[in-house]
């Protein structure tokens, strides 16, 4: 592992113009010597062969520098979530080709978990790493990165181009203090998934859903409601969705103080009521999206609040249940007001220490263009952020719930936008865990006090 990291660091070490000797010289010796010695230790390798072993290692840092910087083609490093579908790789290739020599994009995979991704980016940016040109940010990070001066704002023509045809709510997540810092790459939101063999009509409200679950439980049928109840970001998302659906918000408009109030108390009440009802999964306080998916696939549950990835998974893992597997809008808090599910997704931003910001902005526009978003949506399964794609035939054919997602996105809510979002999220999840122990009024008061501290970056986080 450390070896890998070092090699990586060497390959992307900036090479000052004309200073090739020093930059690559250091890189040439370090990995080469280490590897050579490692090989030689086990068994005596003839000297000539040893040199041969080392040669390719020398060549790789030299080659990438040579073809990148030296030939005058700037290399843009794109750090994004690890994608197994190949959609991101091909986007990087497409855009490199389309750039016709103006720049070259290299896609680097970040760790799998959002926390891991953020940590890696933050560590590099805090050290003013100039090898980060384009990065994929979770929807909740824009304010934080912008305030710290780690990403560049979009202005003028590039901003106009980026906003054109982009869905409104995802665009909000990349905006901080009226400036656009990160451009929506993909988005995501939860739907209600249910089994049509157990209920004829999907419930429209939380009250109806709990009633249906109680009825099913009384009949001895699968009745669980699967939702994310573990102490982590997912619990905050659940709370945020309910608060917004009840007509409130976590922070006030200026993101300077907690808002919460009555809608928050109602949200906390709904969470507690579910946790204490027969609809609650016994492992609710430890469940994340994937455990929810597994529980539904195993046939224990009647309802599930989750992202669209559960659909192809059910098709592959339980074709029998898949015949009854349906989706519906997220349940409402008030029958009269549509639910406002929280959106997730990735936004693309340009690093403040990048040596090629102009090309990086251009590259982002290419990486998120129509073709690349279709590929990412169809192969990678993540909903796109360009409005017109939701009526695109090819996309809809591969994405049967496209319309439900689009409608959910129109009403969607965003998570509190503040540089201190991590703290806000942690205090919410900490206070509301486990959901069965929530005391609505008191819990909301606790959250209120702690958010006020968090916004000032005062005090500890749990």
């Amino acid at each position: 592992m450390p070896g890998e990291v070092r090699e990586d660091a060497v390959r992307h070490r900036p090479v000052p113009a004309g200073g090739r000797g020093t930059g690559t010289g250091a890189g040439r010796r370090a990995p080469g010597r280490d590897r050579g010695r490692g090989k030689a230790r086990g068994r005596r390798v003839p000297r000539g062969l040893r040199a041969l072993l080392v040669l390719p290692l020398l060549a790789s840092p030299l080659a990438s520098c040579g073809s990148g910087e030296h030939a005058g083609v700037p290399t843009l490093n794109w750090y994004n979530f690890p994608d197994d579908s190949g959609a991101l790789d091909s986007a990087a290739r497409n855009c490199t080709r389309a750039a016709k020599g103006r720049y070259r994009i290299v896609y680097h995979k970040l760790p799998r978990t959002a926390d891991g991704q953020r940590q890696q980016l933050v560590r590099r940016l805090a050290a003013e790493d100039d090898s980060i040109d384009v990065m994929g940010l979770d929807v909740t990070w824009a304010a934080e990165f912008a305030e710290a001066g780690w990403i560049l704002p979009w202005t003028g023509r590039t901003r106009r181009l980026a906003e054109q045809g982009t869905l409104r709510v995802p665009l909000q997540t990349g905006t901080w203090k009226d400036r656009l810092y990160a451009v929506p790459y993909n988005t995501n939101t939860q739907l209600l998934w249910y089994r049509a063999d157990l209920v004829d009509e999907p419930p429209r409200t939380w009250a109806q859903m709990l009633d249906a679950a109680r009825r099913l439980a009384a009949e001895g049928k699968p009745h669980l409601v699967e939702i994310q109840g573990a102490q982590y970001e997912g619990l905050t998302v659940w709370f945020n969705t309910l608060v917004a659906s009840a007509g409130g918000s976590v922070l006030d408009a200026g993101a300077t103080a907690p808002s919460l109030g009555r809608p928050a108390v109602r949200a906390a009440t709904i969470m507690r009521d579910l946790a204490r009802s027969p609809a609650a999964d016994p492992s609710l306080p430890n469940q994340m999206e994937d455990q929810n998916r597994l529980a539904m696939e195993s046939g224990r549950a009647a309802f599930q609040l989750n992202y669209p990835f559960v659909h192809p998974s059910m098709k592959a893992n339980n074709p029998e249940l898949f015949r009854h597997f349906r989706w519906a809008p997220y349940p409402r808090v008030d029958a009269s007001r549509p639910a406002r599910p929280t959106i997730g997704g990735i936004n693309l931003a340009v690093g403040a220490y990048s040596r090629h910001p102009r090309q990086a902005f251009e590259a982002v526009l290419c990486l998120r263009n129509r073709e690349n978003q279709i590929a990412a949506a169809v192969d990678g399964g993540l909903p796109p952020t360009l409005r017109e794609l939701y009526s695109d035939e090819e996309f809809v054919r591969n994405y049967p719930f496209a319309d439900a997602i689009r409608q959910a996105l129109e009403n969607a809510s965003v998570r509190p936008r503040t540089p201190a979002y991590q703290n806000v999220s942690i205090v919410i999840a900490h206070t509301l865990s486990p959901p069965s122990a929530i005391d609505p009024r008191r819990s909301v008061e606790t959250i209120e006090g702690q958010i006020a501290d968090a916004l000032q970056s005062k005090g500890l986080i749990p």
Binding site: V122, A126, A148, Y232, S283, P285, I426, S457, L460
Partner: protein, 302 residues
């Protein structure tokens, strides 16, 4: 330690040799200063600043403000209590089990090497790997141990069961280490003394309490000191098993969360410095309470 008078008595050659000795270890001292003294000093410096990576413009000197914030926070005291609990329980259990294992290893006649190797296996497994296997074992759906519990029980999701499992993982992992240190102590007890006690009519328990334990006290203290300091800084097991959720976070987890998730370098450094002070205090208390028998109290001085 020989005093100045002794130094004056040294011949010119010896003095030169001593100078050479200092010169030879100077590079090592410099490296140590660079990799330990500097980071510790920097952490202390940071802990006196209001310094949040996300609000670089608001950085300022706040004196002991961060320490006040940490020490007045219920989160710190909760984590502190959890850490103390884990430390006391796990070290006590390890001491008892380790002593029993050491006795077994000491007395085994047949296959001594095999027994020692078998006992050491848990200690040879990487902590994170061991913690992951515990985590899977106790998670309903993936684990053989969770399957033994009544349906619907998820022990890692409740505070006390989770703390118990963290302690179990720690005990399983480090008892061999304890046993090894105690075994070294047992070897110090001369067989003749035990025989003499037997001749005087001492029973097995009396021989253990009155003869064996006092003679191996230094080894017991070293073992206890090492394990207490280790246990107080417990991080990996907690991080993997519960990530500090459900009131199971140790002080190290608290420091990590504030440094790496909240990016609050000031508060996080204050937590780290406080952990450092606690550890120093524990070491000091051991030396003080157990006096001359403790390591580092310098038998040579008398």
């Amino acid at each position: 330690m020989p005093g100045a008078a002794a130094a004056a008595r040294l011949s010119a050659g010896a003095r030169q040799e001593r100078r050479l000795g200092w010169l030879l270890c100077a590079p090592a001292v410099l490296v140590m200063a660079a990799v330990t003294a500097y980071p510790i000093g920097y952490a202390v410096y940071l802990s006196l600043q209001r310094y949040d990576l996300r609000f670089p413009d608001r950085a300022e000197f706040v004196g002991l403000g961060n320490y006040a914030a940490v020490l007045s926070s219920p989160f710190w005291w909760e984590a502190f209590g959890v850490t103390l609990f884990i430390t006391v329980v796990s070290v006590t259990v390890e001491l008892v089990l380790g002593m029993a294992l050491a006795m077994v290893m000491h007395r085994t006649v047949l296959g001594r090497g095999t027994v020692r190797t078998a006992v050491l296996v848990p200690y040879g497994i990487v902590t994170v790997v061991a913690a992951f296997s515990w985590q899977y074992a106790w998670t309903p759906g993936t684990g053989y141990l969770a399957a033994l519990l009544p349906a619907g029980e998820a022990p890692l999701t409740e505070q006390w069961p989770a703390l118990g499992l963290i302690i179990l993982a720690e005990v399983w992992k480090t008892t061999p280490f304890m046993a090894l240190l105690l075994l070294a102590g047992l070897a110090l007890v001369p067989e003749e003394t035990l025989r003499a006690a037997m001749v005087d009519g001492a029973g097995g328990w009396q021989r253990f309490v009155r003869v064996t334990l006092p003679l191996m006290k230094p080894a017991v203290l070293v073992a206890l000191l090492f394990r207490t300091l280790d246990a107080f800084r417990v991080f990996d097991s907690v991080f993997v098993l519960t990530a500090g959720a459900h009131g199971t976070g140790s002080v190290s987890i608290l420091g990590y969360d504030n440094l790496f998730t909240a990016l609050n370098l000031g508060i996080g450094s204050a937590v780290s410095v406080l952990i450092f002070l606690c550890v120093a205090l524990i070491a000091f208390a051991f030396v003080r309470l157990f006096g001359a028998a403790a390591p580092g109290s310098g038998e040579g001085g008398r």
